[in-house]
Amino acid sequence: MDIGKEVVLEMYRKMHRIRQFEQKIKDLITAGEIPGFAHVSIGEEATAVGICAALRPTDRITSTHRGHGHLIAKGGDLARMMAEIYGRRTGYCKGKGGSMHIADFSLGILGANGIVGGGIPIATGSALAAKLSHKDDVTACFFGDGAANEGTFHESLNLASIWKLPVIYVCENNGFGEFTPTASATSVKDIAVRAKGYDIPGYVVDGNNVLEVYRYASEAAARARAGEGPTLLECKTYRWEGHVVGEQAFITGSYRTEEEVARWKARCPIIALEQEVLGSGLIKREELERIAREARDQVEAAVEFARQSPMPEPAEAGEDLWVE
């Protein structure tokens, strides 16, 4: 597959945006400026971005508790995301959702989800809707390695297989579910193997290689649009940060080694893409630097927007429950 320069640049842009956004979140929480808790995906950007780059605007995604990256990759507005995380009325959910529930239905983002595995049947239903309404939209379903042990994973993949639904199941295997290593909670080394149990294709993908992710996603999307049903992509990656920002404050002991973290940091997906495109001469360093700068500026602007935005009024708590 030949990936055009524009696509590559866009992927680079999105990865930087995610990285800067989440780095900022982390700093703000650490500084005590944002109260709640948030799960960041620093180090895993290539998976979110490679998948979403293969999608069209009318395609849909479902996301997880660790969802900022998916949302940004699908086009989410940084300012409205940041405002939501600040709990402001201008946020995507008017302050009602917070980090774990951001959605943008106009972009096909059906929402992050606080329930591990909760989004998997929802993505499946979204794909069913496409099929029933004879549209060739695809739904990409993000979930973690931990979620792959939930019953909803099983029920959904079986359903999507027998109904040949246009859905891409994207398992982000980052080596942990909270503090439990994947190896000790999951009966198989490669979750992709489970695809056999549903008679669908399953692939192990280098989740830190955005071009590889993009290639697999494009193929899976093409299969889905052609009516050939779902695909399971297991993207092996790693979260550089804790399960939740600030976890050092409340857990004792560590559940992974510094070497392991260092090893994965050395495989930074953003630097990997830089080296690839610089090496091939496709794109110049200055262009990349400009993109990185822009991302930083966008994040700063988002923070500014959030800070300037009003908190919701107490009375707003009663709104938005019903379609009247």
């Binding site: 995507y92 959605a103 929402g111 049947p121 239903g125 979204s126």
Partner: protein
Amino acid sequence: MAQLTFLQAIRAALSEEMERDPSTFILGEDVALSAFGSTRGLLERFGPERVRDTPISEAGFVGAAVGAAMAGMRPICEIEIAPFIYCAFDQIVNQAAKLRYMSGGQARLPITFRTLYGAAGGAAAQHSETVYPHLLPVPGLKIVVPSGPADMKGLLKSAIRDDNPVIVFEHAALGRTREEVPDGDYLVPIGKASVKREGRDVTVVAIGAMVPRAMAVAAHLAGDGIAVEVIDPRSLAPLDEETLLNSLSKTNRMVIVDEAHLRGSAASEIAATMAEKGFDLLDAPIKRVAALDVPIPFSRPLEAAVIPDEARIAAGIRAVLG
């Protein structure tokens, strides 16, 4: 107008609404062949895409209904027998009912859940339970419990057209009850109680299959000169407090009959609300007549001992009459 059974009323509502709106479809276990008859004939009419048998995977297909709704469809999702809902509880409680609010009003979830509930003789604890109490504490979900064919048709049609999640509880013992049902676009609004019988001595609020039972008791007590007003709330969420309070202001006495276990029942919820808002109207304590707090047993005499029967309803009425 035609005489329809409860089951025929369900089928009429489903087929009329499916005819009307191409974004509707049915999914659930064995809905094509329809073991209990409520979807019979729909496969032939609307085909297997829109009358969709699912694997036995409640969380999966309920979640699929949620996702399909958020992507623009109007699913009608059948959970064959009510206690199986517990297998999909997260998708109903944490997802369907919360997603609109959590997304700040972005998501639309026009889903109708339908399920068979209640004790109808010998199906035991995992198949006979009255399940709506577990869903009372779920903001974002409407709960409808029709007690006869006409309401069944009118409420189900309203549920399907509602842009919010609605769950309709269809009592297993009512399938063959029969009454006049208006043809065509007959809609019963969700949230409006129905006064089934007027009376000035005592208000009996009865739910689902308890309504015909309460009506029988009322007819019987009329012979003793006791004028019972029977009210069917029809929907438990939202609850038509006004109609109930109006009746209470006339009778000053209330009995609530619920097939659910007493603790946490809809009877308790209604009683608490009435006792709070209608305190000055009450001449006697509100009496709840509900199932005993044990699982529903298999053997007939035991089942009968657990579920409110006419004798217990009558005793409840006499108790509040003092």
